[in-house]
Symmetry: C2
Subunit: 353 residues, 2 copies
């Protein structure tokens, strides 16, 4: 039954098996994790997770990809563990990730996410800020649930500490990102360091916690952690690519969206690093404008193309993908796991949304 569902999902979305396999299980557990005395808070969290509407009525799931929870479940199974052992960790990671999204939307003033109004746009900043904090608290409480699945107390404590540290790295990365805003002197190496914290830390942690709860040896945990680190970079580099050259029908965002928003993403950072004096001035003058016009968009996209920016990004993502796969060399995983992982990597390299 699960097999059939997975297949039908795959053929519909071309979603790799890793992302489809445990989706329903994770959603059920996410929904259960939102047990709160306050009905309004419950409604807000359910709404943000795409499991309910703004009045608290359940809706057909409208969630993101669930990459982090899927990776956690995958890593646990890949080392020979039972996926249900990792479930509390997977749910906690998804909650932490969603908490960061709620606060991100407030910080960035974003009014929409997944084609729906954001939490702060619907309930106002003070309530949305609190709802985010509660989401994070449920994650903290949730990870303690690992102990009810035969995970040893010291492993639970370690998982809790790793998740907290990964979050600290995330927030330090977000802070760096805020700091980079409007600056034109960021090197690609600065930028890659920033995203390895901002996006990478939690993705890496997903695989780490999966491997730990699956009870694998230190060498295997280390290999999967390293693999997760590279995978995080693949994910974010492609995200930056789509932010500039994504298809509007797929991403819901027009071509050059990050440019319109004057976002300091990898394409710009790279282009500024490569540009000659005149090209640099051209880029800086556009980013200094109050409003980016369509004509600016056309000329900037042409300049980025001249500098080989799209090829650079795809090449860089590809290199990280190779490193992610290489990290799994020399460790033993259950049959089929490396194949499934390769599918996921290919999906992340070429995804349109």
């Amino acid at each position: 039954m699960e097999e059939v569902e997975r297949d039908s999902r795959d053929s519909r979305d071309e979603t790799p098996a890793i992302l489809g396999k445990h989706r329903q299980e994770v959603e059920r557990s996410l929904s259960k994790a939102l047990s709160l005395h306050n009905p309004d808070l419950h409604t807000m969290l359910q709404y943000h997770l795409g499991l309910g509407d703004e009045h608290g009525n359940p809706t057909v799931s409208n969630q993101g990809k669930g990459l982090r929870s899927s990776l956690c479940m995958f890593a646990c199974e890949a080392v020979g563990g039972l996926s249900e052992t990792a479930l509390s960790a997977a749910v906690s990671i998804e909650l932490v990730h969603n908490f960061t999204l709620i606060h991100d939307d407030i910080q960035d003033g974003d009014m929409e996410r997944h084609h729906r109004p954001t939490l702060w746009a619907t309930w106002g900043t003070p309530k949305a800020l609190q709802a985010g904090n509660v989401m994070r608290t449920l994650a903290d409480l949730g990870i303690q649930q690992l102990s009810s699945h035969q995970v040893a107390p010291e492993v639970v404590a370690m998982c809790s500490k790793l998740l907290t540290s990964a979050y600290l790295e995330t927030v330090e990365g977000q802070y760096l990102d805020l700091d980079f805003e409007g600056r034109t002197d960021i090197s690609t190496s600065n930028y890659l360091d920033m995203i390895s914290r901002k996006t990478g830390a939690l993705i890496r942690c997903s695989m780490q916690l999966g491997a730990l709860t699956g009870n694998s040896d230190a060498k295997t945990v280390q290999a999967l952690t390293k693999c997760g680190r590279y995978l995080g970079a693949v994910f974010q580099i492609r995200d930056d690519y789509l932010g500039m050259w994504g298809d509007e029908e797929e991403t819901g965002k027009a071509v050059g969206n990050d440019l319109r928003r004057k976002k300091n993403s990898l394409p710009l950072v790279y282009a500024l690093e490569q540009a000659g004096t005149m090209e640099k001035e051209q880029l800086q003058s556009i980013y200094a404008k109050e409003q980016v016009e369509d004509s600016d968009l056309v000329s900037t996209l042409a300049l980025l193309a001249d500098l080989g920016t799209p090829e650079y990004l795809q090449g860089l993502a590809h290199d990280h993908a190779v490193h992610a796969l290489e990290a799994l060399d020399g460790i033993e995983l259950v049959p089929g796991a490396k194949q499934e992982f390769q599918e996921l990597v290919e999906f992340l390299l070429t995804r349109q949304r």
Copy 2:
């Protein structure tokens, strides 16, 4: 030496011993807990804690009362433990408390705290929001440090869970508070329930963690927890009193400050509950105004006095103080502890700031 310092502090401020005793130790540990890669984040957190200026230079401490950390240290010593055992818990509670203050200031749009610009007023909302999140993360990491002071792993896990749960209660209380804004149908019982979560949970937790790390038996932990619950109410009721009738020179806020801000605090909740139809209309019309005028202030303060509001608040605080002291009956504490606690209770009942 410590004794001398304590005495000089006491005679200067009339600060009860519990609040003075471990202040320097806690401040040193707080300062150490702020170990962060990012220098800007470090500066912000140090600034908020009153340990540094906005450029990162150390300043003479300009902290709050440190009530929560002091209670934690006190409870540990009172049950016969060594106060340094509780230090990590005391610091974590103080960090969680300060995290809530940073986010509160954003939510309430408050520009000043302890006579200095707030974090968001100095660095902007996005950075302040992140700094708050980091403060909380350091608390999560800090509580794990208990294990390096011979606290058993299961007690560390329990302390971590209790602190997280207390924070969840705090935020549910804050959320209720936001929800009460502008409403005139809140009963005193609703209000007291709200403050028992918003302020009470963390104060209660301070004594609970102190007793736990001091390795006391279940009955003693329970008694100190109950005592902490009542003490939290004493603290907040007096806070609401000072928000309405505080001395400007002491509190830094003019008489009727909460009225000017149209804050739904206990004096108003009580008065609305007691008022006849005409008085109710008078109160409602003032709270419905865009701006509260001096003449409104005078008439409202007179109405509150007519309804016996100040006496009600002080009576209620006194009742809770009695319950707090009674909670300690029948348990054994080290000599002098009950006396010290009584001093603290008297201070909290009569404090001017």
